[in-house]
């Protein structure tokens, strides 16, 4: 247990990676959005203002998932840490960071609503579609999305660590074949209309549930892959 916490402390030696950069990305994206909104309002528009800027740090988490593994895993081997301990420490650390950020999203979302969308009627944190849900679903929704993206990066990186270039080629070839297959199936079967009506009916709660399940599957997959990876 002790060594798992030490892995988290090792990942935090450079605080920018797990804490600083996501906050800078979020802050930058938010200020940029506010500036645009202000310009829009100044030009007299009174349409609703929405921004997807809150997603920005989430895409960084995809990169972080890759980086936490490729850069730190070979070093963790030199620190005489088992793969299991490295995995648990790293994933636990990210989960805590993601949870804190999710709660922050929820709280600042409340503030956003209370201030009438920062006085400009904008929606950055509290997008209607999410903010309509109860607090637990809101927090879990953000959390699952963050973990999901981190896990995508983490899984790809573990596959690389275990099977190197061969692993990458096989993985992306298979992925390409599957995606093409689905597109072909939908196109030739004329299922696209059905697909879009199905896709647009997803609720935040549904995404949270299924996203969580997929994240768990990827977590399990990357764990099993990492157990025999070599530095």
């Amino acid at each position: 247990m002790n060594r798992i916490i030490k892995v988290a402390r090792m990942q935090l030696i450079n605080k920018a990676t797990f804490i600083g950069i996501p906050l800078i990305i979020l802050g930058g994206s938010f200020l940029f959005t506010l500036a645009i909104w202000w310009l829009v309002r100044r030009n007299g528009s009174d349409e609703g203002l929405y921004s997807g800027g809150a997603q920005a740090p989430m895409w960084y988490f995809l990169a972080l998932g890759i980086q936490a593994l490729t850069l730190t895993f070979p070093f963790s081997m030199a620190m005489s840490i088992s793969r299991r301990t490295f995995y648990l420490g790293t994933v636990a650390l990210f989960s805590v960071c993601a949870l804190v950020l999710s709660v922050f999203y929820y709280l600042i979302g409340l503030l956003e609503v209370a201030t009438g969308g920062w006085g400009m009627g904008g929606q950055f944190f509290a997008l209607q579609w999410i903010a309509d849900n109860n607090w637990l679903v809101q927090i879990l929704f953000y959390f699952v999305l963050m973990v999901l993206l981190f896990m995508v990066g983490f899984l790809i990186a573990t596959i690389y660590m275990r099977w190197r270039t061969t692993g990458m080629v096989v993985f992306f070839t298979l992925l390409g074949v599957v995606v093409l297959g689905i597109i072909a199936l939908f196109t030739f079967g004329n299922y696209w209309d059905q697909f879009w009506s199905w896709a647009l009916n997803w609720t935040a709660a549904g995404i949270t549930l299924w996203g969580g399940l997929v994240a768990l599957l990827m977590a399990g997959g990357s764990y099993l892959t990492l157990r025999k990876a070599t530095a």
Partner: protein
């Protein structure tokens, strides 16, 4: 009470694609000694150390550290330190951050020793590891290895890029610190002459096989080079095992495996033959060469087909 074995392997084998990196390696290493793991580049040294430290795994056979398989076993791993020659560090890490990390995981970490070595190697600790020269990078590995004071420490060609002065600092500090804090040290090297006197035991690996596994002191003086008139050299060496032979006209210089007594030495002098000692390095090179000559020829004929 019987002494526990620090490292034990039985019939360890590992194949990468079509290269047999380790071939039936069986070894036993006792605690609190300095071992030399010698051999040419690509002989299997790093593969062996990776398996012993759980960084890699064998296809066949077993490896045990203090009686326990190291793979994914934290209590065992925590007693080992192995910084690879090509060790990767997180891109954003500065030198002092790598040490901070090592201090977290190595229970016997000695910060004072680490700082002392930083000064001795004139290492810029605020610099990013990515930006270090090859020698400075080696110094980082050496410092982590030394200051970890792990029960078993592996040094993997630790001197790459270090100049003669820095290498001497490393050897001196190693002897000094080992004398004060005995532990098992495995020093992998192909610069044998430099480390020969530091070693208590020598393991030579070639093409994945162990060709020498012997006390360093027992090896010293086990071979001798006899130089002189070809016929007389032949007469003198008789049926002794020949490790190497050079000829120049009527002159021959033959290295044989033999421990000569004073009578034989006298006889050689009377016959007008020169006897010269064989260094550990020469012995290792010769042994490795003679163990691979046949396969070397095989490969060449294979290639011609």
């Amino acid at each position: 009470m019987p002494r526990t074995t620090a490292i034990a392997t039985r019939e360890l084998s590992k194949t990468y694609k079509d290269v047999r990196a380790l071939d039936n390696v069986s070894l036993e290493l006792e605690p609190d000694r300095i071992y030399g793991l010698l051999g040419r580049n690509g002989a299997g040294k790093t593969t062996l150390m990776s398996i012993l430290t759980g960084q890699n795994y064998a296809d066949q056979g077993t490896a045990e550290i203090f009686g326990h398989a190291p793979f994914e076993h934290d209590p065992t791993l925590s007693r080992i330190c192995f910084i690879r020659e090509s060790q990767k560090y997180p891109d954003d890490f500065k030198v002092h951050q790598a040490f901070k990390s090592a201090a977290l995981f190595f229970e016997n970490w000695d910060e004072e020793l680490a700082q002392d070595l930083v000064e001795a190697f004139a290492l810029p600790t605020r610099r990013r590891i990515k930006k270090l020269s090859r020698g400075q990078l080696s110094a980082v590995g050496v410092i982590i290895g030394m200051a970890s004071r792990a029960d078993i420490t592996f040094f993997d060609e630790p001197y790459l890029g270090l100049d003669a002065v820095a290498r001497q600092i490393f050897y001196d500090r190693l002897v000094e610190d080992f004398a004060e804090y005995p532990r098992t040290i495995v020093l992998s090297s192909h610069l044998i002459d430099e480390v020969a006197n530091l070693l208590e035991h020598v393991i030579v690996i070639d093409k994945g096989r162990i060709v020498i596994d012997s006390d360093a002191e027992e090896l010293r003086g086990t071979a001798v080079t006899v130089t002189g008139e070809d016929a007389k050299v032949q007469e003198f060496i008789g049926s002794a095992q020949i490790i190497h032979r050079d000829a120049l006209g009527a002159l021959a210089s033959v290295t044989i495996k033999a421990k000569l007594d004073s009578e034989q030495r006298e006889q050689a002098k009377l016959m007008g033959l020169d006897l010269s000692p064989v260094s550990l390095q020469q012995l290792v090179v010769r042994s490795a060469l003679s163990s691979t000559t046949e396969t070397g020829i095989d490969e060449r004929t294979e290639a011609r087909k």
